[in-house]
């Protein structure tokens, strides 16, 4: 217990010190406002569920309707959380050399990681829903409590499952990719051939919980505890590997010779592509973007019910070709933070550096457009035009927005040191906020102009093309930004952040 008390004291200290270091009041204010908006929005959707989801089939009450889709929603959240949830491994590392049992350390940090923003968000929706439709809706107290407890256990189960999957990913990315692809394929098949097994399972499971069935609650509890114990064991085993390891020493089949013939911009593009492919973390970003573009997008495309909403279409379009730009682009320059001094001290023209990065982002949009194109042709040809439109939007606008964020980033990302896939290293609140201006304009445009959809798509694509035409101008602008911020960036990149 003394160990846990000490660990809790450390984290309390770290938390209070991080609060006192915050001086970006504008960002905090903007973050607070977004949080307030999300709270009101989700709370409103939960409380006024019946009124908001007026398309509920006749004869099905709100609770049954939600029960039917709850696992699908949780699976959707699972994919998002996979990218964003903070894992326990980075926090464990500073204590590994101390005489503290590793089992205790891992279990403590597994449980500690439950204190996450991602485990709070769902309750903003669920609690108002529960109060109105269960407590005030005539459900028995036992059933109401069992349902809420079951939902909570399900949330924890997905939390520990993410910790497990990410540990598997850091040990063997091939196993991970096979497992994820198989799971996603089954889900897509379930949608495409309309067996709707997931909906049925969700309906039965949460229906039984709402009826107060304690056996079902025990079943979920047993699954959650099993996943907790198994993921703890896998994390513990994985602690033995050195976090710096990017695999065993690798002998090149043939070195690439950089020469002046190709031109400096092309050399810099080749250099960054090598950096991505030869370092675990950016490589995982790339591979997961491919999985995301294939699995997540196909799930969304297969669910034809969703296409009643133009806002959802905007999200599909944005992520289908822009997923890598959105994930990777935000940390450009920061990926190379451990090499940044070397870049600055050498005769590398900043304008060429910026242009190379812009071209990588734009090229990634084309690549991911092509990767996801067969899915659009197969699953929903009606959205092909939207896919083409968002190729231009992502290449023209999203890439530029991501680069704008990248030149503002002053947080170090240590690609060699980072043992896990994603740990917020290098990310700040402003990174999350920037998703809003990226998604909102096309979503609002599509929503407002849904009756003249062609015009909306023409407008969105046109903005993208216009921005693409000005690529040179953008790179000149970002060069100025880079030059004016280079000292702050270099200072920030030299600092280690745990």
């Amino acid at each position: 217990m003394a160990v846990y008390r000490h660990l809790l004291a450390h984290h309390w200290k770290s938390f209070t010190r991080s609060l006192s270091r915050r001086n970006r009041w504008l960002t905090v204010l903007a973050g607070g406002m977004v949080m307030l908006y999300v709270t009101v929005l989700l709370g409103g959707m939960g409380f006024f569920f019946k009124e908001v989801f007026r398309g509920t089939p006749a004869g099905i009450d709100s609770v049954s309707f939600l029960n039917q889709h709850l696992i699908e929603v949780l699976l959707g959240m699972f994919s998002m959380r996979f990218f964003l949830q903070q894992g326990p491994r980075m926090k464990i590392r500073p204590y590994l050399h101390l005489p503290i049992p590793r089992k205790s350390l891992v279990r403590f940090y597994q449980l500690f990681s439950l204190l996450s923003f991602h485990n709070v968000i769902p309750y903003l929706f669920v609690l108002p829903f529960w109060l109105r439709y269960f407590i005030a809706g005539g459900y028995e107290l036992r059933g109401s409590l069992t349902w809420l407890a079951g939902f909570t256990l399900f949330l924890f189960l997905s939390h520990f499952a993410i910790n497990l999957l990410r540990t598997v990913l850091s040990r063997n990315s091939l196993h991970f990719l096979i497992a994820i692809s198989a799971m996603a394929s089954l889900l897509v098949i379930d949608q495409v051939i309309q067996t709707h097994f997931v909906s049925l399972m969700s309906f039965v499971l949460f229906g039984q919980l709402a009826a107060g069935n304690l056996y079902f609650l025990g079943l979920i509890a047993a699954c959650t505890v099993s996943i907790f114990l198994y993921s703890s064991a896998v994390i513990r085993q994985n602690l033995r590997s050195t976090p710096e390891a990017n695999g065993s020493p690798r002998v090149l089949r043939r070195a690439i010779f950089f020469g002046p013939k190709r031109g400096q911009v092309m050399n810099l593009i080749m250099l960054e592509l090598r950096m991505i492919w030869r370092n675990k973390r950016p490589k995982h970003y790339f591979l997961l973007s491919v999985v995301f573009a294939l699995a997540y997008i196909s799930l969304m495309l297969a669910d034809t019910d969703m296409f009643q909403s133009e806002a959802i279409n905007a999200v599909i379009g944005l992520f289908a070709s822009g997923t890598f730009a959105l994930n990777y682009g935000q940390l450009m320059f920061a990926w190379e933070s451990i090499y940044f001094d070397g870049f600055l001290a050498r005769s590398i023209r900043p304008e060429e550096m910026v242009l190379a990065k812009l071209m990588i982002l734009q090229g990634s949009c084309l690549l991911f457009f092509l990767i996801s194109l067969p899915l659009f042709i197969w699953l929903n040809p009606d959205l092909l035009l939207l896919h083409v439109t968002f190729l231009f939007y992502n290449a023209g606008v999203t890439s530029v927005l991501m680069l704008a964020l990248a030149v503002r980033n002053q947080h170090r990302v240590d690609i060699a040191r980072s043992g896990s896939f994603f740990n917020y290293e290098g990310f700040s609140l402003s990174h999350w906020l920037w998703i809003v201006p990226t998604v909102l304009p096309p979503a609002i445009t599509l929503f407002l102009l849904q009756n003249i959809r062609w015009t909306a798509l023409l407008f969105i694509g046109g903005v993208g093309v216009a921005s693409l035409v000005f690529s040179r101008k953008w790179s000149e602008y970002f060069t100025q930004q880079l030059l004016s911020r280079k000292y702050q960036m270099a200072m920030g990149f030299r600092k280690y952040e745990d």
Partner: protein, 234 residues
């Protein structure tokens, strides 16, 4: 090409780091910086390379302020720490990238690397070599130092070049630097804790203490003992 420093001052947010009223290093000089940890050596080198903004004063290379110009970078080779290495490349890939930055073709790169082969780790120029991150700290550093020197710069700025190197490599590097300085008039600016090596390589040595130049010495047979006595007496 010469280096000039005028009224250079640097504070970090919570403490004073450096105050150099004037410093001039002429073309072909070899200038050594010695001092205890935290004396300001690396800060001075970073200011010279425009990696830090000065609070006051300026650094000029060939009469151009380094903070306002880029041309000087074509003539300055530097290695301060591992951030100057791209460790996901093999030594040959990295050196060819550096060569391409300075406009060298493949034959030129290989030709200019030839004199450095005895200093480079074995197999460094092998097309089937390992990545820099899989080399030992010392061997990786050798690659970084060669990257600062092989494209025939007019000025070389090196931070602790002898640290982490095996004894043989320290001797090879010492001879290499002396040769480049005398035969090619390479201007050298080196910081080091190794008093013996720095007195053998540099003809002028400055002692930096708490951000101030305490003394400057033209090296002679007595310099090593003088420096030893100075640091022992502290």
């Amino acid at each position: 090409m010469k280096i000039e420093v005028h009224r250079l001052k640097k504070h970090y947010s919570d403490h004073f780091a450096l105050d150099v009223p004037a410093l001039s290093i002429e073309r072909g000089q070899s200038f050594g910086l010695v001092g205890n940890n935290g004396a300001g050596k690396t800060t001075l080198l970073r200011l010279l390379l425009d990696l830090l903004p000065a609070d006051d004063g300026e650094v000029l290379i060939d009469d151009e302020p380094v903070a306002l110009a880029e041309e000087w970078k074509r003539h300055v080779g530097s290695y301060l720490d591992s951030s100057f290495l791209l460790d996901y490349l093999s030594p040959l890939e990295f050196l060819s990238f550096i060569g391409s930055v300075y406009g060298l073709s493949r034959p030129e790169i290989l030709e200019r690397l030839a004199p450095f082969t005895p200093f480079l780790p074995p197999g460094a120029l092998d097309p089937h070599g390992v990545l820099i991150r899989d080399l030992s700290t010392g061997n990786a550093k050798k690659v970084g130092i060669v990257a600062a020197l092989f494209f025939e710069p007019e000025i070389a700025i090196l931070d602790e070049p002898f640290a982490n190197l095996d004894p043989r490599s320290q001797i090879v590097l010492k001879n290499l630097l002396r040769d480049l300085n005398t035969k090619q008039s390479l201007t050298l600016l080196i910081s080091s804790h190794d008093l013996a090596h720095i007195t053998e390589v540099c003809k002028r040595i400055a002692v930096l203490e708490n951000g101030h130049f305490i003394r400057e010495i033209d090296t002679s047979d007595e310099t090593l003992r003088e420096l030893h006595d100075y640091f022992a007496a502290e």
